[in-house]
């Protein structure tokens, strides 16, 4: 089975790539663990790449909100990029799209930390 979360670095930015379903009981927890691990390692600039996310449910959205809050409390910034239309819709209907910093591509997302 392929991994739900992979991470890589771009300078001092930690990029967390999500894959597949970010849903209750599986992907949601893996996403939280991946982001929390980055925070525990001292990351202050985090970009969550959602290009390969096929589905996110309310549990996944809730975990994403929780991770955003945790990051903020630890003095880190968590931003999103490459949202597929359906994922963007899920965040839009609950008005969370206005909470997160969302970028269309990695170039813009990385540049936003400059």
């Amino acid at each position: 089975m392929s991994k739900t979360v992979t991470t890589r670095d771009s300078g001092d930015i930690k990029i967390i790539e999500l894959h597949g379903k970010i849903t209750i009981g599986s992907g949601d927890l893996q996403m939280r663990e991946g982001i929390h691990a980055a925070l525990a390692a001292g990351a202050k600039k985090i970009i969550v790449d959602m290009k390969d996310v096929t589905t996110i449910d309310s549990s996944g959205v809730g975990e994403l909100v929780g991770c955003y809050t945790t990051a903020t409390h630890r003095g880190a910034k968590l931003k999103l990029m490459n949202l597929p239309p359906k994922i963007s819709d899920v965040l839009t209907v609950t008005q969370l799209i206005t909470v997160f910093d969302v970028y269309n591509d990695e170039k813009d997302a990385v540049a936003s930390f400059a």
């Binding site: 849903t23 209750i24 009981g25 599986s26 589905t55 449910d57 309310s58 549990s59 959205v61 809730g62 975990e63 909100v65 929780g66 955003y68 809050t69 359906k86 819709d89 899920v90 839009t92 209907v93 609950t94 008005q95 969370l96 909470v99």
Partner: protein, 152 residues
């Protein structure tokens, strides 16, 4: 009920999140059989996921001994999904509005909102086993699959 009824598919599922995948696959089969497009199937599938997650998590408290009833049926005008749990019942009016500013950053409480956004009818009632019976309906032949998104 209008139109010609289709014999429903009835499943009893144990209270495990893994069964949500099974149910979604079954729903996909039904949607394709009825000629629904992938976009519509996706949003109905999301509503189904939320309904089953609620039944397993909040209704049956993840007790594997308790079951979730899933019925997929309808007629030539609607796709109807029923999800029943064996929990203690549920008061949907007590669920907080996830759009209220004070709730926006909460980590839970959006599932019912998503169901109401992506389906045409969402009705909570008392099931025969005492738990909650949730009925979701989607009108067939409509292109509006994301009511909330289109209205925003």
């Amino acid at each position: 009920m209008n139109g010609v009824s289709t014999p429903p598919i009835v499943l009893w599922l144990s209270s495990r999140y893994a069964n949500i995948e099974l149910a979604e696959a079954l729903l996909g089969h039904v949607c394709r059989e009825r000629g629904l497009n992938g976009e519509t199937e996706h949003w109905i599938g999301m509503a189904l996921r939320e309904a089953l997650a609620n039944a397993i998590k909040h209704g049956n408290r993840q007790d594997p001994e308790k079951r979730v009833l899933l019925t997929i049926g309808g007629d030539d005008e609607h796709l109807t999904i029923e999800v029943g749990d064996e929990g203690a019942g549920f008061a949907p009016e007590e669920v907080l509005d996830p759009l209220a500013p004070e709730n926006q950053m909460k980590t839970s409480g959006r599932g019912i909102f998503y169901m109401r956004t992506f389906m045409d009818e969402v009705v909570f009632s008392r099931g025969e086993t005492g738990g909650t019976l949730l009925t979701l309906k989607k009108r067939l032949g409509t292109t509006s699959t994301r009511k909330g998104a289109e209205a925003s």
